[in-house]
Symmetry: C2
């Protein structure tokens, strides 16, 4: 007869931590721009990589293609994003942020960075360093050590 103490269970703690933090971040762009999570994921991915296809955004951000499609449509409607057909392969659309999109992106990002530094400040340099190390270990153990390129595929679609 086993009993699992959730508060002491590593996966539970990690998941809760991640949820609470992303919940707080959602508050930032949610309140400020009325953006949804998928919207923000597309915006941030595109902000980082400048130009991508919807497919690439999906694989990099682990979002279902329909979710991406809808978020892209939403951002386009705000005129934060522009599409253009790839002349070399007319199935694909190359997506980029417009000036307005970049402006919003930069604004949100500076808030995000503010949030992160507030957090790391609370932790202290030593803890942050340890955290970095252990995160890397975990990422390796779970085989998600990041390649920082949106072209490489992975087929899971995480929540």
């Amino acid at each position: 007869m086993i009993r699992l103490i959730l508060e002491a269970f590593l996966p539970y703690r990690l998941h809760r931590l991640g949820s609470v933090i992303s919940q707080k971040l959602k508050g930032v762009y949610g309140r400020k721009y009325g953006m949804t999570v998928p919207d923000w994921r597309v915006l941030s991915t595109l902000g980082q990589f400048v130009q991508l296809t919807a497919k690439a955004i999906g694989t990099h951000s682990a979002m279902h293609k329909t979710k991406v499609s809808r978020a892209v449509a939403a951002l386009e409607k705000r005129r934060w994003l522009a599409r253009s057909r790839n002349p070399d392969d007319r199935r694909e659309e190359l997506l980029t942020l417009t000036t307005a999109g970049l402006k919003a992106y930069n604004d949100i990002v500076s808030d995000m960075i503010g949030f992160e530094s507030a957090l790391t400040e609370r932790l202290g340099v030593k803890n942050v360093a340890e955290l970095e190390t252990v995160l890397m270990q975990l990422e390796q153990a779970l085989d998600i050590s990041e390649q920082s390129s949106p072209s490489s595929q992975r087929t899971t679609s995480a929540e």
Copy 2:
């Protein structure tokens, strides 16, 4: 003009880590019992605390009350869970796992613990110890240092 490298951004990494892990765990009870995430949350909370109201389960597991209500109904249909009115307050229902429910719970939990130990083994004792420390720090910094009792309230409803 800022550029946020997502793979190096702490909140992003934490969230992704949590998602990937809980995705893998979902595989366990999903394949084995065809259970959904809300189902498992209710089952595990009830497994830990033996007897709770739906409300208490909701606050402890940060689930919306309708989600809890539906998961409870689903588990009841499997005869894994039994309800009984609280005679002292006939609005509440006291929920407990049946023998069958406990059996499934124990089975899944042993898999979960197996998963956790496989993970910590990969990390090594030193890293695990560091992880524990830093997680605690983070939980404190984010004000979710766990009280391990389902009675205390928090109003956020995380994803």
